[in-house]
């Protein structure tokens, strides 16, 4: 699917239309979900499933997040790419059971700058993976998850 973004996009559009009409069955809803990537248990596996064997590092990909998360249940992460023709942005949490938190397909007029909130079970490196012009790039940051409140 990654090799054929346009086809994929058309399929998804159709799916969206079906969904809007309330006609999507559970199995269909899962059909376009990149199971292998979401179920990857190691970074190597996850990168491979996403088609990104050897991402490059550099300043054109940014991960913006606080150094510390007061609560791992909600960790705001902004993923930014300054690379031309950015097609896709993914957020990965190294120490989560399911490393891939989400991936975002960026349309031509969409600015590759996406903010989402992720769960983190513990302090971990968080990676932003960008696909642009068919190549992969990454940026990483360690986010510390603290124990809050009196209960723990």
């Amino acid at each position: 699917m990654i090799e054929h973004p346009m086809e994929r996009r058309q399929v998804l559009t159709l799916l969206g239309a079906l969904a809007a009409a309330g006609m999507v069955f559970p199995r269909m809803a899962l059909a376009n979900w990149d199971k292998a990537a979401f179920e990857a248990r190691t970074m190597d596996e996850a990168l491979k499933a996403l088609g990104a064997g050897t991402p490059a590092t550099g300043g054109d990909v940014q991960i913006i997040a606080s150094d510390i998360a007061e609560n791992g249940a909600v960790v705001p992460v902004q993923a930014v790419s300054k690379l031309p023709n950015t097609e896709r942005i993914a957020i990965l949490v190294e120490k989560n059971p399911s490393m891939l938190a989400g991936s975002f397909d960026i349309a031509a007029d969409t600015i590759p700058d996406v903010t989402a909130r992720i769960k983190m079970g513990q302090t971990s490196n968080v990676h932003v993976l960008v696909k642009a012009d068919g190549k992969f790039y990454t940026a990483s940051k360690e986010i510390k998850v603290t124990l809050g409140g009196c209960g723990g």
Binding site: T146, L147, G148, C150, G151, G152
Partner: protein, 211 residues
């Protein structure tokens, strides 16, 4: 429930009582009768948190009036309260002060126990990190109490230090009548063994607290 032995069923909840004769700084409408009536209609027992927890002992009565607690004329009363609390301290039966600092760290980290959502068999935590810095690695620590980092390194480990530390953990009010710290031994929050582990966390030279 042996820690209840010292509890005085305060006049607060009983009409005609005299323990709260001086009403403190409370303004109109908040006299003893009105306050007792409010408590009576506003709380219900749930789980381990039974209604008798609103019956104050003499330490709690004294410490609930912020205007008089630190007033110069209260000095003698403060000393009395400290004496009563010191008298409650039970020293380790086998004369051994220190347990295992690793266990102590776990107890210091845990804030569990004694709430209405806790089961009676719940092993209580010490709540220590909620208020104190202890081991330097734990950055998520409170500041209500003083830092305990390097506790043993700064004070040494002679018998006087051991004794004072034990008394503080067992009954914090033994040297400070209205300390914010719970009376872990006196109120039955922690067992003797657990308190020994906390002693080790603070005083064992191998504990990260003293590294």
């Amino acid at each position: 429930m042996k820690h209840r032995a010292l509890l005085v069923a305060v006049a607060l909840l009983l009409p005609g009582g005299a323990a709260m004769a001086q009403s403190g700084p409370w303004g109109p409408g908040a006299d003893d009768a009105a306050f007792a009536q409010m408590l009576k209609t506003s709380f219900k027992g749930r789980g381990v948190a039974t209604l008798d927890r609103l019956n104050q002992d003499e330490t709690q009565v004294f410490c609930s009036d912020p205007e008089t607690v630190y007033a110069p004329e209260s000095a003698a009363r403060r000393e009395e309260i400290e004496k009563v609390n010191l008298a409650s301290v039970k020293w380790p039966a086998d004369g051994v002060w220190l347990g295992d600092w690793k266990e102590g760290e776990k107890i210091a980290q845990s804030g569990r126990g004694n709430t209405w959502t806790d089961k009676p068999e719940q092993v209580n935590g010490g709540n220590c990190y909620n208020c104190h810095q202890i081991s330097a690695e734990e950055i998520s620590h409170g500041t209500i109490g003083p830092s305990l980092h390097n506790y043993g390194k700064l004070r040494g480990t002679d018998d006087a230090v051991m004794k004072a530390t034990w008394a503080k953990i067992y009954n914090s009010k033994s040297n400070n009548a209205c300390s914010n710290m719970p009376r872990a031994g006196h109120m039955g929050i922690l067992s003797e063994e657990q308190m020994k582990h906390l002693m080790a966390l603070l005083l064992d030279p191998r504990s990260p607290v003293n590294q």
